[in-house]
């Protein structure tokens, strides 16, 4: 296999738990650089747990997580960031009393090219009008959509190999959902660093399908469907939510 063919992330029969409660069972998937893998399913399906497990915020019960060809052991969010795994959790988790620009800067905390980082922040702000609007505004007073753009931008500025994004459309107006998903597609295809592999947890089926290359449907913590985007329509996926 060539370097490009090696998946950035590979989950092998992964089971995850919080304490004694097993929430995700036997999940396997592969994501390559430049690809978006959408994980969908009803509430309580284990989607967020799957992302938490990758960064060590849920316990691994069985299976393996392989990142860039190596098993990911003894991981926690800080070590994950160091390995260039960017996590955009549900609720965004921005720094509330820091400006949009400072939140973006924080994404590059682990980068050594400080001068380049400032330029990348300028470029990001120039490219995304929403970010320009809130560059000087504290996160606590931003709208949900503005926060989401900054949160994804923060992840992107770490120049990630892998980006995990949880429910980015939650609570956003449709116009901002479009903006946010354009940004997600941009992160995956970013030519400046060969693109990131993206695992996207999303309940908005149409929005997710607009950017996804692969789809996985979880229900009750287990995979009920997995395949390429074209395998299923939004209506098929909706049916799976109901059954």
């Amino acid at each position: 296999m060539s370097g490009a063919d090696v998946p950035v992330l590979e989950l092998e029969r992964l089971s995850l738990a919080y304490g004694e409660t097993v929430v995700v069972r036997d999940v396997s998937l592969k994501v390559r650089a430049g690809e978006v893998y959408a994980v969908m399913g009803p509430n309580g399906a284990g989607k967020t747990t799957l992302l938490n497990g990758i960064v060590g915020m849920a316990s691994r019960v069985e299976g393996r997580i392989v990142f860039d060809g190596e098993p990911l052991e003894r991981i926690n969010p800080q070590r994950a960031a160091k390995r260039r795994i960017a996590y955009v959790p549900q609720g965004r988790q921005l720094f509330p009393y820091a400006s949009g620009r400072m939140n973006l800067w924080s994404g590059g905390y682990g980068r050594r090219d400080r001068g380049r980082l400032e330029k990348d922040i300028d470029d990001f702000i120039a490219a995304w009008p929403v970010a320009a609007r809130v560059a000087k505004r504290n996160a606590e007073v931003m709208s949900g959509g503005e926060q989401q753009v900054i949160a994804i931008g923060r992840g992107a500025l770490s120049k990630p190999r892998l980006m995990l994004i949880d429910e980015p459309s939650l609570g956003l107006a449709p116009i901002l959902v479009q903006e946010v998903f354009k940004l997600i597609a941009d992160v995956a295809s970013d030519a400046s660093h060969a693109g990131a592999a993206v695992v996207l947890v999303e309940q908005n089926v149409e929005a997710a399908l607009s950017v996804a290359d692969h789809v996985c449907i979880l229900s009750g913590g287990q995979v009920v469907h997995q395949g390429a985007r074209g395998d299923l329509t939004a209506a098929d996926i909706g049916d799976m939510y109901l059954h």
Binding site: P96, A98, M102, S106, G107, E140
Partner: protein
């Protein structure tokens, strides 16, 4: 009016020391949400070390001060690593509080074993004299103390604003989970915060010792409570608030000494601060709580 302004100048001089203590104290609170009740006694122990270095080893006061600053940083970091770290994230608030008080007594006991219970004469850092400025009688030592405290605070503000570590401290203080997610080494930052807090506090303690020419074994508790009150009234989540709280405490104390009595100054100042806290429960510059939608 002349008398009032004279008192206010003296209050600001005194308040700049409280501001430094409050800033150091609030820094720990901001990052950990923990009231460090061993704060003042860690400074007392280090200040006693400074006195010992000057009186028994004949070191210059300024070199002894530099060693004491380093000692205060190390003692504070050791307390964090060996004591407080065991309580963080375990929901053991009361146990942590008791441990902090126990630490305070242990440090004070070590200091008294070192130097005894008698008040200690503090080495002179500045030769103070009275100077007349625009008709006001000012102590040159007090003005130097004010200048040094302000310079320390400005340098510290620049450190927080412009350096990677400083920014990491500010961000970890806002949200530790978010800090971990972006790769800020939160554990390391917490230890650094304790060290910086100890160093800043010691500078304040040395200025205090120089201004009053002495310290005693209860000075540690006095520092802790002055810092605690100033930081809380200023807004426990705000470093700028802590500075404002410290200056307010100094001003109120000075006015109480001038217009009421030196015997009641501290009681009146603390009562006034309690009233401010009652009117503004989040402090003078505390963060507002905003629900995210």
């Amino acid at each position: 009016m002349h008398y009032l302004i004279q008192l206010m100048i003296e209050g600001i001089e005194q308040g700049s020391i409280y501001a430094l203590w409050a800033l150091a104290y609030a820094l720990v609170y901001q990052v950990l949400g923990l009231m460090n009740f061993a704060f003042g006694d860690a400074l007392l122990l280090s200040a006693y070390l400074m006195i010992a270095l000057v009186t028994t080893s004949g070191l210059s006061p300024w070199l002894a001060l530099a060693i004491a600053i380093a000692a205060a940083a190390v003692v504070s970091m050791l307390i964090e690593r060996q004591v407080y770290a065991r309580f963080i994230g375990r929901g053991q608030g009361e146990a942590g509080f008791i441990a902090a008080l126990a630490c305070a007594y242990i440090l004070r006991n070590i200091a008294t074993v070192m130097r005894g219970n008698e008040p200690q004469t503090f080495p002179t850092l500045f030769n103070s004299s009275l100077v007349s400025v625009a008709g006001y009688q000012l102590s040159s030592g007090g003005l130097i103390v004010l200048g040094l405290c302000v310079a320390t605070m400005v340098a510290f503000a620049l450190f927080l604003r412009s350096t990677k570590v400083g920014r990491g401290i500010v961000l970890a203080g806002q949200d530790r989970v978010a800090a971990a997610i972006v790769g800020i080494p939160v554990r390391k930052v917490i230890t650094i915060v304790y060290g910086v807090s100890g160093a800043l506090g010691l500078i304040g303690a040395a200025m205090f010792g120089d201004l009053y020419h002495g310290l005693n074994s209860t000075t540690g508790f006095y520092i802790t409570f002055q810092a605690f009150i100033a930081a809380t009234v200023g807004g426990a989540g705000s470093l700028l608030g802590a500075v404002v709280g410290g200056l307010a405490l100094g001003l109120i104390e000075s006015l109480a000494v001038g217009y009421v009595s030196g015997n009641f100054a501290q009681a009146l100042a603390w009562t006034a601060m309690a009233m401010i806290a009652l009117i503004r429960p989040r402090g003078l510059l505390g963060h507002r709580v905003v629900e995210r939608v």
